[in-house]
Symmetry: C2
DNA sequence: CTGGATCCGGTACGATACTG
DNA sequence: CAGTATCGTACCGGATCCAG
């Protein structure tokens, strides 16, 4: 019943997913979908991210065109990040994925427990 | 247009995505969606994967309940991997994601070029 | 045939210090 | 405020060798 269409993972796809689904990107997208944010706003909103990782994540997302960076020349400078139209289109696929994760989390956790228990029995 | 529902990325979700969307998992899922495979079949089908990475990927996917491992006690032993019902349900979200990637790849590549060119102008 | 064990180099990441 | 620079660490994937 599930269609037999292709599901190719060539290098460009793989690379793209790595850039957009990495550790912090989804959290950043989440924040910026709600409102434009400044750097330290994001940093506070995503409490565990380090400044270095946040910088790298923002750069990557900007390079891929899903967020925008605007420098406001005040003193001191302000930098505003916002989602782009392309970035907004990313939301649906991500939501589908997260919905799947939420729905199946219980099943998956049971599977993990079963697996770990079997492992333990095999290697006491 | 795009709904305003939540898009939470808590630690469990994050971990789950890391386990299921990592470098080789999608290729493995792809193969096993088409037919059950033995270890070396998979290895040949996914030409660049090393045996170590393939082993690790299969273990991870098995632990999360999306694939099954069956040992056939012949001489020498054979091991058959197949997708589980849970694994099949993963296909739709992944397809949505890949469809997004395919559709937007041209836009993204232009964004990258623009970004890189601006970088180069800024740092000659 | 199906992996496990080991070594190894690259890279991602965290912590800290410093700058325009 | 919004980063850059530097350092040390942890982990990952690749290569190779070995075993049930």
């Amino acid at each position: 019943m599930d269609t037999d269409d292709e599901l190719r993972i060539d290098a460009p796809h793989r690379e793209l997913l790595d850039q957009i689904l990495d550790k912090w990107s989804l959290s950043v997208l989440n924040e910026l979908c709600e409102r434009p944010c400044r750097f330290n706003e994001l940093r506070r909103a995503i409490s565990q991210v380090t400044q270095k990782s946040l910088t790298a994540t923002l750069r990557r997302l900007e390079r891929n065109g899903v967020i925008e960076r605007e420098v406001v020349s005040t003193r001191p400078v302000a930098v505003m990040y916002r989602i782009t139209p392309l970035g907004k289109t990313l939301r649906h696929p991500v939501d589908v994925l997260l919905a799947w994760a939420s729905q199946n989390m219980p099943v998956i956790e049971r599977a993990r427990e079963d697996f770990d228990r079997r492992e333990e029995e095999a290697h006491p």
